[in-house]
């Protein structure tokens, strides 16, 4: 295994580059072929610019060049760290994504951790009480959440906690009309709670149901039977065998669910007008903001890839069958 490590890293890096390359080609082609006119989105529909001036700008931007040439130009700039200017925000795409991502990452990571911990705990709890009232309640709850659309759930939560009870603000990441210097961490947390709650709730169902199923499977396994035959108490069964054997697949599942988390985040942010990548994506799509859309596509591909990669690596570290698989006796 140790000798294979550099090769492993190289193969992963290769796969990541290939993925980014394919994602960029696909999204670039899609955007170019889409009925979006970058020039029109830039100057606006009611522009008074003459046709000649417009053609001049198009030539300057290289819009008249064939697709491969335009892609080559974009990649060349990308390699220099230039993702272009966002039409929507009138700022470089890099700084827009950077700022937006910092909001989204906080939201996503917290939702990821909470849904993972709560979902795992609920799954273990339900699995131990299989067939009981608590189990059936948790199962129903998860199935409902799994089937409910995120934006609808978000609206429901928003109208209940924010509009009806007035406990939380109904949008944005910071209070409106307050100076940046006066915004406290408390304000930020207060604004984060509802979107976080929504995103946690929508991600919790899968991990709970999965853990519950895994627990039941393990409880019926031969090695639990034998552990009981060896005189292990219920407590020992849980701490010696059950937690480890259920946590491993649960962690893997949680890491590989980054893509769904990303999708859920985009919807939750839109409902709560939370200024993260999700709302930026919506805005970019509505405004025909080609550079920003491309940038977000790349970043999200990278994000989801990292999730899956971490899941793979973790499995290798935690599961002895993979970690020491080479050391056969």
């Amino acid at each position: 295994m140790h000798t294979a490590r550099p090769k492993y890293i190289a193969s992963i890096a290769g796969r990541m580059l290939l993925l980014l390359f394919l994602v960029s080609i696909l999204s670039f082609t899609l955007i170019v072929k889409a009925p979006i006119d970058p020039l029109l989105s830039y100057v606006g529909a009611e522009s008074t610019l003459s046709e000649e001036a417009k053609a001049e700008i198009a030539r300057h931007w290289g819009l008249d060049a064939p697709l491969p040439a335009r892609y080559a130009t974009w990649v060349k700039n990308l390699l220099h760290g230039d993702l272009g200017m966002s039409v929507t925000y009138k700022r470089p795409v890099r700084s827009v994504i950077g700022e937006r991502f910092s909001y989204s990452v906080v939201l996503m990571l917290l939702a990821w951790v909470f849904s993972g911990l709560l979902g795992y705990a609920a799954g273990i709890f339900a699995g131990f009480r299989r067939g009981g009232l608590a189990d059936r309640g948790i199962k129903l709850f998860c199935l409902v959440l799994q089937s409910a659309p995120t934006f609808w759930l978000g609206l429901l939560i928003l109208s209940f906690f924010s509009v009806k009870l007035g406990l939380f603000p109904f949008g944005m990441a910071v209070p409106a009309g307050k100076l940046v210097s006066e915004i406290t961490l408390g304000d930020r947390i207060h604004h984060l709670i509802l979107p976080l709650f929504t995103l946690t709730i929508v991600s919790i169902g899968k991990i709970t149901l999965f853990t519950r199923q895994k627990l039941i499977e393990i409880m019926n396994s031969d090695y639990i039977l034998f552990a009981r035959a060896r005189g292990e108490s219920d407590r020992q069964l849980v701490f010696r065998h059950i937690l480890r054997n259920t946590a491993l697949p649960a962690v893997t599942l949680q890491f590989s669910s980054f893509s769904e988390l990303f999708g859920g985040m985009a919807l939750a942010e839109t409902v709560f007008s939370y200024p993260g990548v999700g709302t930026a994506t919506t805005a970019a799509a509505l405004n025909g903001d080609a550079p920003l859309l491309l940038g977000i596509a790349l970043i999200s591909a990278l994000f989801v890839f990292s999730g899956n990669l971490i899941a793979n690596i973790l499995y290798g570290v935690v599961d002895p069958r993979l970690r020491e698989g080479g050391d056969y006796v």
């Binding site: 292990e232 002895p320 006796v329």
Partner: protein
């Protein structure tokens, strides 16, 4: 109250049934073991042989108290003359009564085998006992650090035995310990059992392989459709069919490859069948009308048999 003659394990008229739902919500009780009686004494190996589905493993699970929750047991199981209640079973599991399972699949795949073997007591004491047991079976200390998937076939068998004997139990139940093993490996495993018995343990060996059982067991109980058809000294099985008592044991012996290799017509009755009568009657060459009446276990020529015609 424990005298020298008190069997380590005595099973009296054990019945095991499972309640299950069939065709919607109709709850039905399926009797899998009916009227099983058996003794195992100190220093003795008693083999329980029978074909698949005869309920052999359930006997082991019933003694240890690890049957699934929908199982209902009746009858009596005595350990050294004391009725095994669930509380006692919990107390004795892994210390007084140990199980040797079939294969390495019965070990936690994510835990090092040394740690699994040392579970009985927990602390450093158990760790030392486990280490000594590993050494007794010719396993190097490094084996303790291995995961189950890293064990070779030979190591796995010895590790499984070690997990059972760490606490030096008085009763060892081996459930199909030799499936798919070559003759040599199987013989080695059985030799370990003989050693354990000679060392003072009572061994209950559950197997479908009568041939192997013959080599090590002192007495053999032939299991048929959840009952004991015959319990006889192993000697009788070696002497041939005429020394046996029950028509099923005779047929069982005839079906062995080195004997006539003669299969017996018909199939074992389905577990749900109720009769008090002889369960083998359908396939028995000596059947008479009297076989439909109640047939109980009775002593005969130094063994026991559940057949009214046996002589």
């Amino acid at each position: 109250m424990t005298s020298k003659d008190t069997p380590v394990l005595a099973v009296r008229e054990l019945q095991i049934s499972f309640s299950m739902y069939r065709k919607g919500l109709r709850k039905e009780s399926l009797r899998v073991i009916r009227s099983l009686s058996l003794d195992v004494r100190k220093g003795e190996i008693v083999a329980v042989v029978g074909s698949s589905g005869a309920g052999k493993s359930l006997l082991a699970h019933a003694v240890l108290g690890i049957l699934p929750s929908n199982a209902v047991t009746e009858g009596e199981i005595l350990y050294k003359g004391e009725t095994l209640t669930p509380a006692l079973q919990r107390k004795y599991r892994g210390t007084e009564i140990a199980l040797i399972p079939q294969s390495v699949d019965y070990l936690d795949p994510l835990m090092r085998v040394g740690k699994q073997a040392a579970c009985a007591g927990g602390g450093p004491e158990a760790q030392r006992a486990a280490r000594a047991a590993f050494a007794r079976y010719g396993l190097e200390p490094r084996v303790e650090r291995l995961f189950p998937f890293q064990l070779s076939g030979g190591m796995a068998r010895r590790v499984l035995i070690v997990t059972a004997v760490v606490a030096r139990p008085a009763l060892i139940i081996a459930d199909e310990p030799t499936p798919g093993l070559g003759a040599e490996a199987a013989t080695e495993t059985l030799r370990h059992f003989r050693q354990l018995a000679d060392g003072g343990a009572a061994v209950l060996l559950i197997t479908h392989d009568i041939d192997l059982a013959l080599h090590v067991a002192d007495r053999i109980a032939v299991f048929y459709a959840g009952t004991t058809a015959e319990i006889a000294p192993a000697e009788d099985f070696k002497r041939g069919r005429d020394a046996l008592r029950h028509p099923y044991s005779k047929a069982f012996l005839d079906a062995l490859p080195q004997n006539a290799f003669k299969p017996i017509a018909g199939a074992q009755p389905y577990a749900g069948r109720p009769p008090q009568a002889c369960l083998f009657a359908d396939r028995c060459p000596e059947r008479t009308n009297a076989c439909a009446g109640a047939v109980a276990m009775r002593a005969l020529r130094g063994g026991e048999v559940r057949c009214i015609h046996a002589t």
